[in-house]
């Protein structure tokens, strides 16, 4: 009997979560024997050669050289002609369990909505990691993704590195693409703290080019499309080519919003909480949704589902790529609760700890492109949603008030809608409502 056997990437260290495929020693069609070295991998700790657990013919390599693979993922498929008695018995068990798992998934799927793609994210890939799932909860949601691996996996620090920092902090800096040597340390012993790294990451290169590299010698570079970039691409294509997008813009005098933000920052209730114009924007959108419910809905081809709650999505540029986590039931939150939720969401995203559950079931999204210093854009809808709003940069500009040119804090609100659901009149009213709050936040007292 011939059969396909898979070799899953093992944890060759103690608690490693991933490894990079360095080089394959076999190719499809090759005959392999038990314990023959088939691949070299590199973990956070070392280069390791992996021996094949079974004999047979290589049917497929399931990871490319250079790929980073999660522990537990199939890396090679081997056609095995005969399995030993022990291996065969454990195989039957595995097949039995697999059949049961398939049955479970099937029965779950029949009562649940079609799974929504998250806009992007490592969540998609990590959902297949071999974590156990709590029963009665949609599978994907229950998976906890800890993109920052355990803290004991730090590579040896190069000699000559004089910066003081604990290994987890070094790891965090590495994950966030922050050069720890350039972080200003504030620790008691002159060490770099978590807060220092987080602060540095806010000005990290993902938000702004900080240096101009030397011109490269090669004329072209080829970057494999994989991981989060692949997920972003497929979600964008799906969204852009299924939903007819319509975008509208409005300029708005946000001076009072800026004053309101300043007052909130100074108030005792908001002490220690981060208050930004995005908070007022979020409140404005939630308020406007109540007045224009159609923008907070989902198109399913057979019906339009109007959501009478707001799972408020925020597009976040993280060092690992763009992700859109959302704040569940944001409409039930007070200003203070919403401020804390936004701060938490940003911190979680920046640390790479956003879970697939955090990115599921959003109803409307804001993208704060103003932090990049640009005025507006035409955002693409997060799949499953029909509205997305872009908040541009807010800066002093000439503005006409009572026939006089004054210097006001001006911004542009850009918004995109799914025209299958939202027509121009509703879209315009919604954007006007959002703009009116930005102009006069007192409307929120309504």
């Amino acid at each position: 009997m011939s059969q396909i056997a898979y070799f899953d990437l093992p944890d060759v260290g103690e608690g490693l979560t991933e490894a990079e495929i360095v080089s394959w020693k076999v190719k499809p069609g090759d005959t392999v024997s038990v314990n023959q070295i088939i691949v070299e991998i590199e973990t956070a700790k070392s280069l390791v050669e992996l021996p094949c657990p079974f004999a047979g013919t290589v049917s497929q390599l399931l990871a490319n050289e250079g790929d980073t693979v999660n522990v537990g993922s199939h890396i090679i498929a081997v056609e095995v002609s005969q399995l030993t008695a022990a291996a065969a018995s454990s195989m039957h068990e595995a097949v039995g369990e697999a059949a049961q798992a398939v049955a479970d998934v099937a029965s779950t799927a029949s009562v649940e909505e079609k799974p929504q793609p998250t806009l992007v994210g490592y969540g998609v890939a990590a959902a297949s990691a071999s974590r156990r799932k709590r029963s009665g909860v949609p599978a994907v949601q229950a998976v906890v993704v800890n993109a920052a691996p355990a803290t004991d996996l730090i590579a040896v620090v190069p000699s000559g590195d004089q910066v003081l920092a604990k290994p987890p902090i070094r790891k965090l800096a590495k994950d966030l693409n922050v050069d720890i040597n350039k972080v200003r340390p504030t620790g008691l012993s002159g060490e770099v703290t978590r807060e220092d790294v987080m602060a540095a990451s806010q000005v990290a290169s993902v938000f702004k080019n900080q240096t101009t590299p030397e011109p490269k010698s090669e004329r072209e570079e080829r970057i494999p499309v994989k991981g989060i970039r692949k997920a972003i691409a497929s979600a964008m294509v799906q969204s852009a080519f299924t939903a007819p997008h319509v975008s509208i813009f409005v300029d708005v005098d946000a001076t009072r919003t800026m004053e309101y933000v300043k007052r909130l920052k100074a108030s005792a209730d908001f002490a220690g909480v981060k208050v930004t114009p995005l908070l007022i924007m979020a409140k404005a959108m939630i308020w406007a949704v109540r007045r224009n419910p159609a923008v907070n809905s989902t198109w399913t081809d057979t019906e339009i589902i109007i959501h009478n709650y707001v799972n408020f999505g925020v597009a976040a540029a993280t060092p690992r790529g763009l992700i859109v986590p959302n704040i569940k039931d944001a409409d039930k939150m007070s200003m203070l609760e919403l401020a804390m939720a936004l701060e938490q969401l940003a911190a979680t995203a920046r640390e790479g700890k956003t879970t697939p559950a955090d990115m599921q079931n959003g109803t409307i999204t804001v993208t704060n492109i103003g932090v990049f210093g640009v005025d507006t854009g035409t955002p693409i809808l997060n799949p499953g949603e029909v509205g997305i709003v872009a908040l541009g940069s807010i800066r002093p500009k000439p503005w006409v008030v009572d026939n006089e040119i004054l210097i006001r804090q001006v911004t542009t609100i850009g918004a995109t809608f799914d025209h299958r659901v939202v027509d121009g009149d509703v879209a315009s009213r919604f954007v006007q409502d959002v703009a009116s709050v930005m102009e006069e936040p007192a409307l929120l007292l309504d």
Partner: protein, 388 residues
């Protein structure tokens, strides 16, 4: 490069070419070898080859996701097999975590070692049956356990009576790294002052993970006990006959009431510290080559061939090794996961409310997970690897 310092005397009975040759001052050790029969020599070789084959298979199984960790002992077979057979059948052995070779000299089932490193239990052999106590993962603690046990033998009058049925001794194994732990010094002190029936067997494999022995001590390790009153001797740890003879002599002496001895076996860890370690990051390949040329199996094979042992024997040993590897592989794949409740069973000998509460909580938690859901493809296939 770390290599044996030729100025330091060391008991060696086999030259690198496998010639039996004892310096005059080691005549009493050579005498013990003359009492051995051919079957004993063959047994030494068979067990060294067997444990090396097992070790390599276990390393492969770890790389295939079948064990959480493996601690290879390749290169230290002579120190372990030789000393293991130098220990009397009723004596007690307190190992560290790398003494797979010593384990097989006292009837420990190899699969119970695999079981432990797979995480299926905390050491599945019964020390009352094998006299080989459980592996000590915490460095150096076993020396104190051993010394305490040896003190107990004194208190019970199990030492120096001259009755072979009654008298016992204790041996404890540790590495060069553990000598830097306070536990070892404390054990020396109590062993010396209580004149315990005990041997401290230090396998100096030159590396405490990535720290060379030179950073662990300024004096040769066999001298470490002197200040406490424990005399020491250095033996060529890659010479199985020397390891056997030196261990046997000092265990016999201990059993006879002559007190504790420290034996430093000079050897080398050919492999990594554990499967989580990459020694190429910190040591020179020339050093590894130096020691590979001193491989204990090669040296003893030369000795046996010099004695007229034929190729048939070596073929038979190799075939037996492959058979063992297959059996270990199959048994590992077939090994069942332990029941979760097991972890609570041996915390207290009697029911304990806190343990009961934790057990109930865990059961509830597990039920909420709805049992184990494997991540498997739906087709007719099988997966190996991943996490155990």
């Amino acid at each position: 490069m770390t290599s044996p310092d030729s100025e330091i005397p060391m008991v060696q009975l086999l030259t690198l070419d496998g010639e039996f040759s004892a310096a005059r001052e080691y005549a009493e050790y050579a005498e013990l070898i003359r009492e051995l029969r051919e079957a004993d020599f063959l047994k030494f070789y068979r067990d060294m080859a067997r444990i090396r084959r097992f070790d390599n298979e276990a390393t492969a199984l770890q790389r295939q996701g079948q064990m959480g960790l493996w601690v290879p002992a390749v290169g230290q077979e002579a120190a372990q097999i030789g000393s293991g057979y130098g220990v009397g059948p009723n004596d007690h052995i307190f190992p560290s975590y790398r003494e797979h070779g010593v384990a097989i000299t006292h009837g420990v089932d190899l699969m119970s070692i695999v079981k432990m490193y797979r995480g299926a239990n905390h050491g599945g052999w019964n020390p009352h049956e094998t006299r080989f106590h459980l592996y000590a993962i915490v460095l150096g603690t076993q020396a104190l356990h051993a010394t305490g046990y040896a003190m107990g033998l004194n208190f019970e009058g199990r030492v120096g009576t001259g009755d072979p049925e009654n008298d016992l001794a204790v041996i404890t194994y540790f590495g060069d790294g553990a000598t830097a732990e306070g536990d070892i010094s404390e054990a020396f002190l109590f062993a010396a002052t209580h004149n315990t029936p005990q041997v401290f067997f230090c396998q100096n494999n030159q590396w405490a993970i990535s720290s060379p022995v030179g950073t662990q001590t300024k004096v040769p390790l066999y001298k470490r006990g002197e200040g406490f009153g424990v005399p020491g001797i250095r033996v060529d740890g890659n010479d199985v006959l020397a390891c056997y003879a030196v261990t046997k002599k000092h265990m016999d002496d201990a059993r006879g009431g002559k007190g504790p001895t420290l034996i430093e076996a000079l050897t080398y860890r050919i492999g990594a510290h554990t499967t989580s370690d990459d020694p190429s990051k910190y040591r020179d390949s020339a050093e590894v080559e130096y020691w590979k040329a001193r491989d204990p199996l090669i040296r003893f094979e030369k000795f046996l061939r010099n004695q007229g042992v034929g190729q048939d024997f070596f073929d038979e040993v190799e075939a037996a090794g492959d058979q063992l590897a297959t059996e270990v592989r199959e048994a590992t794949f077939a090994m069942a996961d332990p029941e979760l409740e097991m972890m609570f069973d041996h915390v207290y000998s009697e029911p304990h409310p806190l343990i009961e509460e934790q057990k109930a909580w865990l059961q509830g938690y597990e039920e909420s997970l709805g049992g184990h859901t494997p991540e498997t493809p739906g087709d007719d296939s099988v997966s190996y690897g991943g996490t155990r």
